[in-house]
Amino acid sequence: MTKSDKLLIGLVLALTILSYLFYVLLYQGDSSLTAKIVTDGSIFTEIDLNHPGANHCINIPGPLGTSVAEVRPGAIRMKSSPCPDHYCMEIGWINRPGAVIVCVPNRIVIEIIPDKNSVDTIAR
């Protein structure tokens, strides 16, 4: 392994840490959560995940058919999906701000966003 190799590997690792820190710092200390569901680039719906009794499913239409998302207090997952690989279902429950479930075949993104106020604070 040459000096250039080590530099390059160091650079890739530095980018890894930076991109990880980006998500950690961006959403630091947010406890109130909203799930945003985006289909084909536009917002389908936003769900408040803070209700302690939340327990329901949402049907999301996509080009392949209907995907079903399940909501629990503070978490959301893709329960079923008509896509071929089911990577979106394998991700399981997501509960951290910034976390996403992506279903590329059915063009669906489920993203946990912090409470609107704290997003505005960051944006300003």
């Binding site: 392994m1 040459t2 250039s4 890739v12 890894t16 998500y23 399981g92 992506v102 590329v104 993104v109």
Partner: protein, 180 residues
């Protein structure tokens, strides 16, 4: 004019890349992310870059993704676009680093390991960018850290495999026959 020997070698390399491409899809991955994989087919792309040139490597990467997807029945669907953009990005980045390295002193050039890691990282980045384009949402970059991190061990592994392969080809005298 392209020699028959070179043409045959390219055809063999394309066939080899397709087999690796398909074989890799059979290996189960402990991550629920489509992009995290060994990148065995990238060995062939890098081999073509080292033996021949950028154009040949690009041709092989192109043929591999098109024919590989055709054989696995995923031509022109999502998996095809992801692996296509990844393979092209990896080829371009490895070629740039390889030719850039030629302006450096020999001992400070990128070795096969470095090139392979860069190729793996570029493959993952290209894939994520294409996925973000397809879903019209940048949220998928949430997976950037794990994709980048995985490119280091997988890149090193494929780089080591290629190093052994080249050693074998040199020792058995087949390299001189191929590259003329």
């Amino acid at each position: 004019m392209i020699s028959t020997r070179k043409l045959t070698t390219i055809a063999v390399l394309v066939a080899l890349a397709i087999v690796l491409h398909l074989f890799e899809a059979l290996i189960p991955i402990p991550f629920p992310i489509p992009g995290v994989k060994l990148g065995l087919a990238n060995i062939v792309t890098l081999l073509a870059l080292v033996l021949f040139d950028f154009k040949t490597a690009l041709t092989i990467a192109f043929m591999r993704t098109v024919l590989g997807s055709l054989l696995s029945g995923t031509l022109f669907n999502i998996a095809f676009f992801l692996s296509f953009s990844g393979a092209i990005a990896a080829t371009c980045v490895m070629a740039i680093l390889l030719y850039f390295g030629k302006s450096l002193k020999f001992h400070s050039r990128f070795s096969l390991l470095g090139l392979s890691v860069a190729g793996a990282a570029a493959h993952n980045l290209g894939q994520l960018a294409m996925a973000a384009l397809l879903i019209k949402h940048t949220g998928i970059f949430y997976y950037l850290p794990i994709m980048l991190l995985s490119s280091v061990p997988t890149g090193i592994l494929t780089g080591l495999l290629l190093r052994e392969l080249l050693k074998y080809l040199k020792a058995s005298g087949q390299l001189d026959e191929i590259s003329c």
